[in-house]
Amino acid sequence: MTIRAAVFLDKGGTGKTTTTAHLGRALTELGHEGILIDLAGKQSDLAKQFGLYEPQQKAIENDEDFPNLSSVFDDDFGKLVKMNGADAILDRLIYETNEGMDLIPAHPGLDSVDGELNNVEDREDRYGRLKAFVDEYLEGRYDFILIDLPGLSRIVPYNGVWAAENIIAPVEMGSYEFGQLKQLAEDIDKYRSNWDIDAELTMVIPNKFERGTTLADDYMNRYQEEFNGAMAPNPVAKSQDIRNATEAGKTIFELEEPSATASRAKEAYLANARELVDRIGGKR
C-alpha cells in the first residue's frame, strides 16, 4: 500500500515546499521508501532543496529533458510508455536525491499543461491524468508519495488533489491564515461532493511556530477547536536553520550541528510523519 498526500493551501509562502521535503525526509528516516512530485511551478524549488537544480537545468539546456513531468499529462503518455517500456521512461522522469527519497522535479513544460487540459471535456480525464500515472506506475513501487502543489486553484493542482486525496496544509498561526484554512476545508467538501472523490484535510501543520507567546497559544487553541481531528501532533518551530539548510540544498536532517530550534523542528517532522502514516494507513 502506498501512502499518498498532497501539500496544498491556496496561498503562496506558507512553507509547502519545505514541508514536502522535510516530511518526505522524516518518512524516509522512519524506514519508508518514497517519492516527491513537484507540481509547484517551474522554479523547481524541490530540486533546489536537494541540490538537483543544476543537473536538471543542464538536462533542459542539452535537450535531454524528455520525458518530464509535463509529459505525464499528455494524451499519448501511455503510447510513449508502450514504445519504450515503463522502466526506461521512469528512469528519465525520476531523479534520486541524496537524502533517500526519489524526486520527479517540476518542468517549464508544466506551464502549458493547464491550457491544454482546459480543452479536455471529460472531467475524469481532465483532473485524473496524474492519478492515472500514479496508479499505474508508482503505486506499490513506493511506500509513500508526497506531491507539492502550487498555491493556486487550477487544473494541474487539482490533478494533485485527485491523485493524492489526502491533503496536508502547512499554516502559520494568524487570523488571515485561519480564514485561508477554513476556506480550504470548505473547498475540500466541495471536491468531495462535486467530483465524488475521497478528498480530506488529513493534516494541518502549524508552521514557523514560536512557542510561549500568548498570541501563538491563543491561535493554537482556536485552530484546535476548529480543525481538531486534522491538527498535526507537533507544530514545527520557526528556525533560521531551515532556511540555511534549504539554501545549502538539503534538509535540516543533514545538519551536523542543528540549532535547538532546528532539532525541535526535526522532532516535529518525525512525529508528524508517524502520525501521517497512522492516519492514512488506518483509513485503508
Partner: protein, 126 residues
Amino acid sequence: MSDDIQVPDSMKDDRGSSLDEEAKATEHFVDDLAEAMGRIESGDVSKTIAFRDERTAALFQALKQNPERLQSTVETLRSELGSDKDSKGDRSELLRLLVRYSIQDVTPELAEAEKRARVQRVENDY
C-alpha cells in the same frame, strides 16, 4: 535530445520546454527582421516612419526654433549610444536616436535582435 527514447508523433511538437519556445519565437522574430531589412533595402518597403502626437510635435517645433537646444540634446544621445557624428544633427536624427535609445534601454532584447538580424543579413549576402 533524448536519443534513445522513441517518441510518438503526437508528442514530437510539444517536447521542448517553454524556454525552447521562447528561443524559437526569438529566432522567428530575427528572421522577420532580417527579411524586413532586405525589403527596405530593395525599396519594396518605405524607410520612412511617421506618427501623430500633438505633444511630441510641439516639442519638436520648439526645438526647431532653438537649434542650440536641439544640438545639445542630439550630442547627449550620441554620447549615451556611443554613436558617431554621422548626420547633421537635425530633428530627424534626434528622433532616430531617441527611438534607438528607448529600445536599448527599455527592451534590450529588441536591440539584440536587431543586431543579430544585421549579422544574419551580412552572412546571407556573402
